[in-house]
Symmetry: D2
Subunit: 350 residues, 4 copies
């Protein structure tokens, strides 16, 4: 299995094709334009459809339609474009439609800039749209993981009939790293019970997100959704635990921030301070129990994010009073510095 050099955004595109995605609808925005560009080249060659829609709102509703027809479908955008998709994502949650949505976060709020950022954690994890819905949120930190988690995202979407958000950032999408292309999982999902594939010789299916009767229909749907979400929380947590066993200090970070923290942890160990890294890979479901175990008894837990403090809330909820928690964040598309992290941990150790 040969390694090839791929840019992050292109790795997502190729992995989506490998996963059987044959439909892509989107609207361009930096820094993720390599994804639609790649899909526009590749999809026609595999009998698929690439379409640049009139707007982000149009694109997510096309995703709704293709998913309702049983297809594997993806859209991608960056922060402002994802905000425009909030209504559509909530509709898909209400209709239990699977899809993969890639957000290569840029600096915000508003139009912001085209640098990478992690300011959309809340939006992705707490539900930027309305209503009690959840998306599975995957946070890759390498190009290899971008590819691997893209394949996994399609399986999770189909298994649970949920929207899966691949939450990267502008920097990681632009990085080129050698990767081994993932294999298709081989998993088969039978959508015949609900997909709108033409009702010849069978009863009709209905896919809708309106259920006007509050006590019965909509409450019933929500209880079903909550049951499903509980199952996902139980079964689908992913995390990476790196040298946390003997560590006095625990760094917690996801995505690009975790790469920086890994460097900081190495530097700290060289200087005699034992630091470890806990990296949530699924941001929802959040690996709360695993983090609680990893954090127990540490002298200090430092959460590092490229935002003003978002995941830190989930860290606090996970750890409670079992360890002291501090936060270091950078905003507006700037990145955490290894030196700054080392310095801060070193200060704790004094």
């Amino acid at each position: 299995m040969a390694r090839i050099l791929m840019k992050g955004n292109e790795a997502i595109g190729e992995a989506a094709i490998i996963a059987g995605c044959r439909h892509y609808f989107g609207y361009p925005i930096t820094p993720q334009n390599e994804i639609p560009a790649y899909m526009s080249l590749r999809l026609p060659k595999v009998g698929g459809t690439f379409l640049q829609a009139e707007s982000e709102v149009a694109a997510i509703n096309m995703v709704f339609g293709a998913s309702a027809a049983g297809a594997r479908v993806m859209t991608s955008s960056s922060s402002p474009g994802i905000s425009l998709k909030m209504e559509g994502i909530s509709y898909m949650a209400g209709a239990e439609l699977p899809a993969v949505v890639v957000n290569m976060m840029r600096g915000g709020p508003g139009l912001g800039n085209i640098a990478g950022a992690q300011g959309d954690y809340f939006q992705a994890v707490k539900g930027g749209g309305h209503g009690d819905y959840r998306c599975i949120v995957l946070a890759p930190s390498t190009v290899q993981e971008l590819a691997d988690l893209t394949v996994k995202a399609f399986d999770l979407a189909d298994q649970y009939r949920m929207v899966v958000i691949l939450l990267g950032d502008g920097f990681i999408g632009q990085m080129s790293e050698p990767i081994i292309l993932p294999q298709p999982s081989g998993r088969v999902f039978d959508k015949s019970a609900w997909a709108l594939t033409g009702a010849r010789d069978r009863d009709t299916h209905l896919i809708a997100s309106m259920r006007l009767n509050p006590e019965e229909a909509l409450e019933k749907l929500n209880l079903h959704l909550q049951g499903k979400y509980a199952q996902v929380e139980k079964s689908e947590r992913l995390w990476e635990d790196s040298q946390t066993g003997d560590a006095e200090y625990l760094l917690v970070a996801f995505g690009l921030s975790a790469r920086i923290c890994r460097s900081a942890a190495s530097a700290l160990r060289k200087s005699g301070i034992t630091a470890g890294l806990f990296r949530p890979i699924t941001l929802w479901p959040f690996p709360a129990q695993e983090l609680a175990v990893a954090a127990a008894g540490k002298k200090k837990v430092l959460v590092v994010e490229m935002n003003a403090g978002q995941m830190v809330e989930d860290v606090r909820l996970s750890i409670g009073s079992a360890a002291a928690i501090d936060f270091y964040g950078t905003v507006g598309g700037s990145t955490p510095q290894v030196d700054a992290i080392v310095e801060r941990i070193t200060a704790y150790a004094r």
Copy 2:
């Protein structure tokens, strides 16, 4: 000062006029159509502008424009329509533009139903849009408070140049209660330093949410925003503390849920169980310290919401391990029952 009987949604409209709001842009959706209907009748009579836009996206961008010109401006919608405004709200946060956005929440996710719900707490409080921004979120629980907080919302918006969300629900907007119309606050906000009012005889102003230079411009803006948000958190917390001093059990709820909890607390006291109610009026900034004080030493804290559990996270973050926390929620537009709350607290007491 005479009391008049007003429907919740109409009270918002009249209070907005009293507060000096002269521009309303929106798109219809049940259960808040009385707001645009009221504004369409009243605004032309006071020299204002009512406009039903092509879409919710168009409406929020018209709000952006009117606000940039220094006007007091409002939009309103219900859950799905608010999701469509997420990009625009993030842009306004980035451009530091004041406005009042009313969300009369309905059952979700998706199109859901037209009953009242509280499923958009996360969206309003954690930022449904992208980037590290905050909105001030006010949660009225009576028609009088709908009116009073509408006037306050305009002042807060102008004082901090922020979007203020008035977060009600479909039930409260439809209720009719006798109210005393609020007075204008009399506060005057000088917008001459930034509003786009024509640049004759002065330097030009620029209102933008794009700041391409990450390290300097956008980071600087974000640090400024975070400073402003810290000030709001310090100064603008509102809450109601009802019979919590001697209570063994504490109910925590906002909006309509708090009304139901108040009835439950009364019923409990009649049966000899001392229960109190802590009601956050500002959901952001969340009255965390006040809640922590009120909750300290209670036998149990029960959070009641018309959703699957959203504010309960902020309650946990506020109280930590100082008291045991439980949650009771109803989903899909159904409402918590007094009996169910009484029963649950009674069970704790056994």
Copy 3:
């Protein structure tokens, strides 16, 4: 009555205000942006509403709404933006709603360029939208006439409940000339029988353009419309006849082309060739009979347009075989040259 120097597009704006127009909805496009800019400054000062809509489609539908409410309302654009309004204009014709639509034509087709042109004659006169409808089309050739015909346009619109198109071109909109501002006509139009002004104490009105029953409702509407159009054709023809009586050669042109033809006619007379100019001011209704009289017995009729030959069809239909007709046109935003016209007529005379 003092003369003031005004730019063509601004003269339209001021004349609209004088005519009582208090609502303007539009979307920017060169070379007519001075109109929305002017209206955005002036309308708020006279208690009116200026709104830049999300798109040209949105704008024309806002015009529909304001007109249905009985208001004097205007929109303006240039060629591509006018094409986007075709559906809306047909709807207004079907609903018999008055409005003034300004088209400052630019070079086409497509995005073309921002120079002036007359390539939208067919669109304006033959109906660019669908169905058997007509708009009154006014073709000013001086800044004074831009102002005067704007006032007249509002009266014609209200009198006949029709859309009136003011058809200028990019050059004339940019010209500055001394003008005397027109007076309001003083005519009053009672819209109480149809305008949607609130149905308190009266029967409701219905404004619609859908009439599903073909034989009865829609045929009846169309016969009514055709009757109305016949009345307009009979009563509202406007034209200018300049030195045509003794002329051997007749130039026929509208708008800017007519100004150029006037210079050519003068030059020809200086060289001993008697030429006259017939200038239609209303393009629909076309002054066919008057042109036929003016053209009778001429040695040659030369139609000059800034397009590939559009009005020339109406000239042929008007004159029939009563005189030989030739055409000289320039395309793509270029303008007819006096010398070229002189040369051509001189060649006929040889």
Copy 4:
């Protein structure tokens, strides 16, 4: 070659597939919904793309895109939906992009009704969009011809790089008649000189409709277009001449009206009055010379249309004073009656 029974709208769909059309973009409207329905079923089976767009405006711009990429592409709609496409069609004319646009006309103006009509002749033939552009307009009068002309439309579009409008009406689209499916023409059009197919190993292509320099770029384009249109006028006229040689009276009609006229002509001949039918099949280019020949010396020419009088202008321009011309039209979706035509011609003959 077996005859099969097909509905008019479905015959268009199947013929488009036969012609190699693999892309369809549209938005539903009665009475042509059988076309998108048919394409949505068939296109995926032949490796094509069917997409219901967000709006008619979105659809025509997707047609622009697919055509620019060298694909055979079609859209369809009915009158109001076609009006919304006017800007896009003008853009395609300016960019010289081929496509087939089907208009199954309904009663107008505005939303009108869903019966068949011919009220969009002017829009199709004179250019409903802005600028000096032309579309080839084909007017079938049987289901067989709907199919045959659809295949021809794609060839004409590619040969001349023009938009070809297939102008039917709501009635003919709904008729079921036995037809022989057409064969592909076998003609091959080399688009390699201009289509945007990826610029690897060749110079880049540019497709644009903006040409800012009036004297040079845009004038040059227009002169090129006019030259092309002259060639089309010379080479592509189609018409049917039925029993006109010995006729004293000539009926002129297209599409469904021509079917009714044929019945009227037969009835007239049975009663001893010799009547013939001239049916333009291309409405642009209009078969003017052929009509002039056919009309010469007739006692009367009667133009019959399902509108208030549109093609009659082109008939007048073609025939001039060579014969007396009369008009009989029905409006609002009602149809000409055989008896009424017979009666009118009989009255001439008295």
